[in-house]
Symmetry: C2
């Protein structure tokens, strides 16, 4: 089984792009768009799901309408490089719902966090009362998002 290397033709790519933009497009709509019958759209979609190419479907919410007015990126540097510290910090990440995503980067053992908060005060509390008090965190640098000139474009397929 080599799920990894499924053959994608142009129609598959177009379908993936369309579904990245609007996962609720009906078979009929996609059918018109791709010049393919609705049933075949469904079969291809199913194939792409089973191959693991499509990992799932998600609703995208408007942060502003949820009262999440402050978006920030927080760079966190850990003091020591023990696996314990990393694990402990990772556990912390998973418990905080305002931390939407976290990445580890090349170079120093540091994390980049993407955070949504209702206001600056909450962000501040997150930084000082949650992150900085963690035993393995040595430095924190946060940047507030002003604007998002390009947002969540589909992956290039």
């Amino acid at each position: 089984m080599q799920k990894n290397s499924i053959e994608l033709d142009e129609t598959d790519r177009a379908l993936l792009t369309a579904l990245q933009k609007n996962a609720y497009a009906t078979g009929q709509e996609l059918s018109d768009m791709l010049n393919l019958s609705a049933s075949q759209i469904g079969r291809r979609r199913q194939r792409l799901e089973e191959a693991g190419l499509i990992m799932g479907y998600r609703a995208r919410l408007d942060p502003a309408r949820l009262g999440l007015d402050v978006q920030a990126f927080v760079q966190v540097q850990l003091a020591r490089h023990g696996s314990d510290e990393g694990a402990s910090f990772t556990r912390l990440l998973s418990t905080r719902p305002e931390i939407i995503s976290a990445w580890t980067m090349t170079g120093e053992a540091d994390y980049l966090l993407r955070v949504f908060c209702p206001d600056l005060q909450t962000l501040n509390r997150l930084i000082h009362e949650v992150l900085l008090v963690h035993r393995s965190v040595s430095r924190v640098h946060s940047q507030i998002v002003m604007d998002q000139p390009k947002g969540d474009a589909p992956l290039p397929v």
Copy 2:
């Protein structure tokens, strides 16, 4: 019209959370989950869509299976602060499919870009042949993503 301030009760919140995790859950499944009839689920969902709280639905793809093995964050600093430069750079962003998202941050006039590339060479080319050659770009700093310990969690509702 104050779309902004729709009342959300606990059921709405649970529904939003569920749809952020799996937008393809059927009314029946959500019905069991939230102790609500399928029709009512549908009506609430429609209300949340019309209110603009749900902005849309998207398929989530597996970057690795698409051959996008390198993920990076690129910080870009612009030389001058004229609106022309910003606009020109924004236009550049929109033309590059490997740039998935871009944010402007507080502080200096700089951008944070999230990028997916098939390999390091492509990333390198993006940086040197696309970003650095742009007239208003003064500095570029890129960090490669090693791991994503927390990924695309639902927004806290």
